[in-house]
């Protein structure tokens, strides 16, 4: 089905595009007209217990700290026509900072940014950028790496498991980051990977967790956000690792840690810059990590030995100092191909193209 010629042409176009973007002619910073009025647009409900809720927590921080009017629209579908209409309505009512929250908004928000050059747009996990649009995501794999070190240390065998949604790069780098961390504290361990092919399916996630637990898996890492994996793991006395929000309430006894977002650490400075007239959107999108405080892990319980906590603290400091990345070479894929030689670390372009799982993971066949 794949047309190799058109695919490689597109890849060349993408590379050429990113080379051009690497040396953009510096335009003047974006200037906002009027007082800031902010609108957040969600594809589903804002308090969804996961992705949206992490952004919505930051929205409350933005409203409290900056004091600007903030409006919210929920369940605006990821169709270009629905999103563009919502943006039209907001702009008509004088809103001039629009926050999108899903990659499904990428095209529609880029069209809107072109149509309204005096409105500032930011879009979480988007793929489009311009003079007045910046997409942002976080280096979540850094948090997963630290969580992996803790998980490898508390595992009482060499079997760990991870549930994930779809085999896309932003998910694959979480799995690979976690496996990298596990290898630090438990070099013989393997991480069994199950994709549920859904972003939210409590029944399927619960069943997948059970099947992992039946194979004696001692730690369940969950890249998704329903409660069922945590309750299943707790019942089986296995540790669990959460994502996006602090999931400790779902498994009070056996929750190990959660890889969490602090989007306020990105949104507040960005909106301040927009209001001050100093904002220059990054043409490759904003990509903050632990160093900027946007990603972190929640405090570890006493079951993690003190020396392991020290290793995690050291690695965390090294990541912040820029001395370490979770994907320093060599990086070997499951099928034994070398993805990165020793002595190098993955570029952002290589991260966004991560369509493989590394050695130390099992399954996850695509």
């Amino acid at each position: 089905m794949r047309n190799p010629i058109s695919t490689s042409v597109l890849s060349l176009a993408a590379i050429a595009g990113s080379l051009l973007l690497a040396n953009p002619t510096r335009a003047a910073p974006f200037q906002l007209e009027g007082d800031p009025k902010i609108a957040f647009i969600y594809a589903t409900t804002a308090r969804d217990g996961g992705w949206n809720e992490a952004i919505d927590n930051a929205r409350q921080e933005v409203a409290d700290e900056l004091g600007y009017p903030v409006a919210v629209a929920e369940s605006i579908p990821e169709d270009a026509s629905a999103l563009k209409n919502a943006i039209d309505l907001y702009v008509q009512r004088g809103f001039n900072i629009i926050v999108g929250t899903t990659y499904g908004y990428s095209d529609g928000i880029a069209d809107a940014a072109e149509k309204y050059p005096n409105v500032a747009f930011v879009n979480a996990s988007g793929t489009t950028n311009s003079d007045n649009l910046e997409s942002f995501y976080a280096r979540t794999y850094e948090g997963w790496y630290l969580a992996g070190i803790a998980a490898g240390a508390v595992a009482d065998n060499d079997k760990l498991g991870m549930l994930a949604g779809f085999p896309v790069s932003v998910v694959n780098w979480d799995i690979n980051g976690f496996a990298r961390g596990v290898q630090v504290s438990n070099p013989d361990a393997n991480v069994s990977v199950l994709y549920t092919n859904s972003w939210w399916d409590p029944v399927k996630e619960g069943q997948a967790t059970k099947s992992l637990l039946e194979q004696d898996t001692s730690v369940i890492a969950n890249n998704l956000s329903s409660a069922s994996p945590f309750t299943e793991a707790e019942k089986a006395d296995a540790y669990s690792v959460g994502f996006q929000l602090d999931m400790s309430a779902q498994a009070p006894k056996r929750h190990l840690t959660s890889v969490v977002f602090h989007w306020d650490k990105y949104l507040i400075p960005t909106i301040k810059a927009i209001a001050a007239g100093t904002w220059e959107p990054n043409r490759n999108g904003a990509f903050p990590g632990i160093a900027q405080g946007v990603v972190d892990i929640t405090p570890l319980p006493d079951s993690v030995p003190a020396e392991v906590k020290q290793i995690i603290a050291d690695k965390r400091a090294a990541i912040i100092a820029g001395e370490l990345t979770p994907f320093d070479g060599p990086l070997i894929a499951q099928d034994d191909t070398e993805k990165l030689p020793s002595g190098e670390s993955l570029s952002d372009e290589q991260l966004w193209a991560m369509d493989y799982l590394i050695q130390g993971t099992v399954g996850g066949g695509q």
Binding site: E74, E78, N85, A86, L89, Y90, V168
Partner: protein, 359 residues
Amino acid sequence: MSNVRLTLERRQRISTLRSTTTYTLGLLIGLACGLLVLLAAGAPASTLLNDLVIQVFFSAMGLAQTLTLAVPLILVGLSATAAMRLRFWNVGIEGQLWLGAIGATLVAINDVGSDSLRLPTMLIMSAIAGAAWIAVPLILKLKAGVNELVVTLLLSNVAYLLLQHLLFGAWKDPVNSFPVSPRYGDNEQLASLGFGNLHSGIYIALGITLLMAILVQKSRTGFYIDVIGHNRPTALATGIPVTATITLMILLSGALAGLAGGLIVTGVEHRLTQTIGINTTFSGIVIAFIARFNPLAVLPTAIVLAGIYNAGGTLKVFYGIPDAIVVLIQGIVLLTLLMIQFFRSYRVSLLRPSIKQPT
């Protein structure tokens, strides 16, 4: 005790005026009930009329959005109409729509045909793909008597899995590795009319509505359809080509749904995504029922329904009304419209007998 009786009487002839006033009344009653729900949910009464009615149907921006939403709704309404007139339950409109979008994208990705003919090729392919998808339940029904309800419904799930399979595999956009197809070229997009997001697909939808009306109301095939739909044994006995007529109309139903998918991807989305056409089976069947399977009536019905959906978006943006309330209000309006049909078809009168009943 009471000697007053309610009687029902079937109306012999229903004038267009009566139909129109009844439906308008139904719409108003539905909207009034919806308004009560909105007020209970905390929307301010003072601005509601302006935000809903004026914004959705009378402001240029709102009208453009309503018509944009109406384009695929017109086609899925016609798709349901084509099948329902023959009592064929096509509850797999979404599946045929997704196949249509896949067909159009197949043409775009493989650069089939010359550049100038690319867009028509994509649209024709979307109709063919939709027809091919409904051919399976059609053949099973004609040859083996398998109930089309189950097959069309389940084939929609298969179609969605196929869509995901393509988007996560061969057709994944290499530029950003998210599960969407590469963006279409300029010659693979329908022209924008410069009126909101409205695109030239509206002309296609209007033209097809007219052709459908001629087909079912003026042509010989239309007469066959009526006979087969109302009394199949009679149709068989009188030598009407039953199988040929059913085959034609059901393939047409699939083709129209497929074309709806083709118009969504070429007109609005400009690439294949996982979120197109969700819930169009429901919308198509509701439109066909409210329009009483009359193609010309599908047009205003689809536009009103699009307006109701558009108003839902407006409510979410202006008042932060949750999706559940929006769906509830939409449900109330549609139910009222369906129920009012009863009063269109029947006369309800109070009978007060002049002669005393013997005790």
